[in-house]
Amino acid sequence: MNLIVLIKKSSVELSLKKVGVMVMKELTGRIVNIQKYSVHDGPGIRDLVFMKGCPLKCIWCSNPETQSPSFQLAYNSKRCIGVESCGYCVKECAQEVFTINGKNNIEMDRSKCINCLKCVNICCSKALHVFGTDMTVDEVFKKTQNQTDTWRSNGGVTISGGEPLLQADFVTALLKKYKTVGVHTAIETTGYAPWERLEQVARWCNLIFYDIKILNKQKHNNYTGVDNSVILQNIKKLTEKFPDIEIIVRTPVIPNINNQEKDIINIVKFLDGLDNLNDYELLPYHGYGSSKYLQLGMTYKLEGIGSLEKEPIYELNQRIRKMLNLRKKV
């Protein structure tokens, strides 16, 4: 007879399998971060759950740590106390990933890294850390639900990413859990997933933020790495099938990529054919994510591109709302 063990860590899973224990793995989601007191992603004061992994690779992405579905080693040089008073990572890594760059700082050759995470465990300041942690539905719920009983702001939980639909089963289970206690739920999605996934998750949402970044197929492909037909088909179906869910389409406005009025108007024309749209929001680009590229050893292609003036974009947004007969946002 097999022993059934409920576990969550895949490393343990492997070793248990070796000794012949049958493992029934509890559903987990891979999460980058849970952010508290978020006030810009849905009504009221909210908890924001960032899922890890995204099928798109937008070059302006401000959360690069959510792109890869794998755990990722990161180095935050601002937190590092320097090799002179520490340097434990250099000693600890047998793969010689770290070298001292002469300025009391370390440099990394990530190609040599085997992800053993020894350096992370030894690092005192959390300068070396991992993006990504596996959590069960209950664990995420516990970390967020402690606010529900005292929530007076009509807030709730927003699942963001990454792309929540990549982990549709987990996200569904989590949203269901919130629904059972009456918490307002929202997701932020790129819509790039098989319709069934979107449908499965949408059922449990009060509000969906849906990104349409660029209408032109080729251009979309160039800047995000994927084709936008699925995205456009899905939003149509979504607005038809779920008239009761609040749906807000968003477009991040990026300098030199889609900040011409015609880029936006193309999207607006498409939106004009949709029913039941609640709002359309333009999000002016900001460069806040660039430090995280550095931490991950990635290059940020938009480095130094500058930010956009917000006023004209807000003003354009209001004009569009009028065109689409959307209610003016206060």
């Binding site: 007191y37 810009h40 702001s153």
Partner: protein, 818 residues
């Protein structure tokens, strides 16, 4: 990084544009022009007159002597009416001033006045110092309240508190004894406004007629009440005469008319009941002045439930069209200005315990009526508006909130909070009322409670406890627990006690807690010894006939408020033993429990070495400590450590009593956490030597990173709730203006305040300011002279604070938009 204009508070915008705040009212601007440049002047009249009288009355009972002295001061102090004033009366001449109470700390004045003169914190002439030296100090030498107290203190307690300077504490127990002679109090203004002094005097006379011939102490009480009644009426008459004289000479017909009105007001109040809003305000100020001249009160005598007792005259005049909102604001702001001009002389040898000319004459709004309904009225809203428009940070403003506080009031509160000046602070009826109820008072009485000082509360006709408490350095107890009773204060090591487990034998977390409990017990015992000495010595040399006359419990028992009053009043403090550095201790304990006893990552020895070296050469260890589970992030581990620490702290405090009974504890540091931190060695939470300790009940500045709601939840969970002696838990939350923008920001903060009410936390105040602004203000103080920040229980000008305190405020976590 350039700041986004949309995210600046109104206050920041004003300063950035170089505008400085002006009042919409011309008269107020006139007062303002030289206020901020004025260094407060020390006025010696009160000290000299008081001493003259006291030296001639030595054969009388103390309350009669005090009554005569107050009467003498009121009848001889300069009568000054400044240009354009509508409310008149001053404790010490024109402009910003301070007065002296030689009966409390007289012998220390020579040194203190020279120090003040040198530091340029106050101005006083050499001639005035000479007068104090010749006419005041000699009389009080050996007789002052502080010397009597010192004489009564057990030598070991005196040594622990004062070390080698009897006028300034050493840093372990920061003693507030005889800095002021009463706990935080509010005046019982309502009585005088509604009844008038003549009526009160009549009542006293009738009572006196009934006192049996031999009951001299009761007679003395009533005689002294009658003397102070005459005193304050005489004072008002002098002002009436002065106003008449000035009116005769006045060329400007408008001012002439005003002066005649002032004269009529002063003839009317406080002798008779006030009929108009203006009279009521004038009456309020006369009564306030008498309280101020009588004795020094912690935080300076508070204004009490201003929107309640001022409402009837306001409403009458408003309905009759005698005043409009503008006029009402102008009149009130004339009163605010009088308050701003009075600065307590608070320099002590340890001058930074209270900073920034702090005085918090708390003005209370909202709350409930005696019968349990919401008490908000139109005057409430007008005062909130005045706080936005009046350019000075006086008086302090608080709002009592409860489960039925109307949304309209909540919205007005939030809009004021968004201005960024730190007003108002909020006190929670849902927590405070049940706490006071347990003292055996009726619910109707309790609903009329009055917040005073920082976060303390009073029942104006029932409470009688006076003796001022003391701040206890809680992290020092942990240091003793780990080091065989040795503590390093200000660079000197002292062995103060011997915990039962030797440092080398500490093997478990429970061992450490055992030692901590004993070390805490050591400090608490000294606290009680000094508190007992203070109660007894105060009773022997103090009396406050004016305050006593306006307190029903005193009048019922015909006993002065500085005497123990049992049976009639409540001899209860409102949290008197002040716990400093709760967050520092909890973070330290959590780090030790986790890293030393559970994970065994480090040893106690290693930790002690690192602390000894102030972490120099041990930065790695410090980082590990900093990354231990943090109180304030709703982390289960750290929260349980906090709860347990709270339990120990409360449990030890309830072991002892003073002659008046057991004492309560509170978490109200004012700025003591900065001053104590300056003298303290490094602590196991990764704090370096000299840095500030944590503030109030909050986590250490900058450690709570999960947003303000999580901070609140952590603070709520840390309450052990096992005993009933923990009051006045002060919470200070710093918020970045970004998360408060627009209508949504307003609604979110309203919801946040509702949550605060639900969680039954005692108090909260918000500092809404961009970190960048504070950093700039430190670099260019001239440009930011009028930047007001919330310090702790009060607001102050940022640039008037010491660099340490400035840093501490900068480091408080700014909860950002996510």
């Amino acid at each position: 990084m350039a700041m986004n204009a949309c995210c600046l508070t109104e206050q920041e915008k004003r300063i950035e544009s170089g505008a400085g705040q002006l009042s919409p009212r011309q008269r107020i601007n006139g007062f303002l022009s030289n206020f901020r440049d004025q260094i407060p002047r020390i006025d010696i009249q009160r000290a000299v007159l008081f001493t003259e009288s006291m030296s001639q009355t030595e054969n009388y009972p103390m309350n009669i002597r005090r009554a005569k002295a107050l009467n003498y001061v009121l009848n001889h102090i300069d009568v000054v009416i400044e240009d354009n004033e509508l409310i008149v009366g001053t404790c010490g001449g024109a402009g910003r001033h301070s007065i002296l109470f030689p009966e409390v700390r007289g012998p220390w004045f020579e040194k203190a006045l020279r120090g003040a003169q040198k530091s340029k914190a106050f101005q006083i002439s050499d001639e005035d110092i000479q007068v104090i030296k010749e006419k005041v100090i000699p009389y009080w030498k050996g007789k002052s309240a502080h010397e009597r107290y010192l004489a009564m203190l057990p030598p070991d307690t005196r040594e622990v508190i004062y070390g080698n300077d009897n006028w300034g504490s050493a840093g372990l127990l920061q003693d507030n004894a005889n800095i002021n002679t009463t706990l935080n109090w509010a005046g019982n203004y309502k009585k005088v406004i509604d009844k008038g002094i003549l009526e009160i005097k009549k009542e006293m006379q009738e009572r006196l007629n009934k006192v049996p011939d031999s009951d001299y102490s009761k007679m003395a009480f009533l005689q002294s009440a009658i003397i102070v009644c005459d005193g304050i009426m005489g004072y008002a008459t002098r002002y009436a005469n002065k106003a008449r004289q000035l009116a005769l000479k006045e060329k400007d017909p408008k001012r002439k008319e005003e002066l005649e009105m002032i004269a009529r007001n002063c003839e009317r109040v406080p002798a008779h009941p006030a009929r108009s809003f203006w009279e009521a305000l004038q009456c309020q100020w006369f009564v306030q002045t008498a309280y101020k001249l009588e004795q020094p009160t912690v935080g300076v005598i508070s204004l009490g439930r201003f929107d309640q007792y001022m409402y009837s005259t306001f409403n009458k005049d408003y309905q009759a069209g005698v005043i409009d909102e503008e006029r009402a604001l102008e009149l009130m702001e004339c009163l605010w200005f009088k308050i701003a001009n009075y600065v307590p002389f608070n320099i002590t040898a340890t001058q930074n315990y209270f900073e920034g000319y702090c005085h918090f004459e708390q003005t209370v709004l909202g709350g409930q009526t005696k019968d349990g309904h919401d008490a908000t009225n139109e005057l409430t809203y007008l005062i909130l508006r005045s706080k936005k428009e009046f350019p000075l940070h006086y008086p302090d403003l608080s709002v009592r909130v409860h489960s039925r506080t109307p949304d309209r009031l909540l919205r007005a509160i939030v809009e004021l909070i968004k201005e960024g000046t730190g007003f108002p602070k909020l006190l929670n009826d849902e927590e405070i009322i049940p706490f006071i109820l347990q003292n055996g008072v009726s619910i109707q009485e309790v609903r009329d409670y009055v917040p005073c000082g920082c976060t303390e509360v009073r029942l104006l006709d029932i409470d009688t406890y006076m003796a001022v408490g003391c701040n206890l350095n809680t992290p020092a107890a942990l240091e003793m627990a780990m080091n065989d009773g040795v503590v390093d204060i200000d660079g000197t090591k002292k062995k103060l006690m011997a915990p039962s487990i030797k440092a080398t034998d500490i093997k478990t977390y429970e061992d450490l807690l055992q030692n901590f409990t004993e070390a805490w017990d050591f400090l608490v015992q000294h606290y009680y010894k000094r508190q007992a000495a203070l109660e007894i010595s105060n009773a022997a040399c103090l009396a406050a006939p004016f305050m006593s006359m306006l307190n029903d419990a005193c009048v019922e028992s015909l006993t002065d408020i500085h005497q123990p009053i049992r049976g009639h009043g409540l001899s209860k403090d409102t949290g008197n033993l002040s716990v400093i550095g709760f967050g520092t201790v909890v973070e330290s304990l959590a780090a030790i429990k986790k890293l030393i006893f559970e994970e065994k990552k480090i040893t106690l020895d290693e930790l002690k070495k690192a602390l000894e070296a102030n972490f120099e050469g041990h930065e790695r260890l410090r980082q590990i400590l900093l990354n231990a589970p943090q109180y304030g992030n709703n982390d289960d581990f750290a929260t349980e450590v906090a709860r347990q620490a709270d339990e120990i702290i409360c449990d030890v405090v309830r072991r002892y009593r003073t002659p008046n009974g057991p004492q309560n504890l509170k978490h109200v540091p004012v700025t003591t956490h900065v001053a104590m931190g300056r003298k303290m060695n490094a602590t196991p939470n990764g704090r370096k030597a000299g840095e500030a300790l944590s503030e109030g009940i909050s986590p250490t500045q900058g450690r709570d990173t999960e947003g303000p709601l999580v901070t609140l939840l952590s603070i709520a969970k840390a309450k052990s709730n096992l005993y009933n002696n923990s009051l006045s838990r002060l919470t200070n939350i710093k918020i970045s203006p970004q998360i408060l923008t627009g209508e949504k920001g307003t609604r979110d903060l309203m919801a946040f305040i509702r949550t605060f009410v639900d969680l039954k936390l005692w108090h909260i105040q918000f500092a809404v300011i961009n970190k960048d602004t504070l950093i700039k203000a430190q670099k260019e103080p001239e440009k930011y002279r009028n930047l007001i920040v919330r310090v702790a229980g009060y607001s102050a000008y940022f640039t008037e604070l010491s660099p340490d305190l400035q840093n501490e405020i900068i480091n408080r976590t700014e909860h950002q938009m996510c």
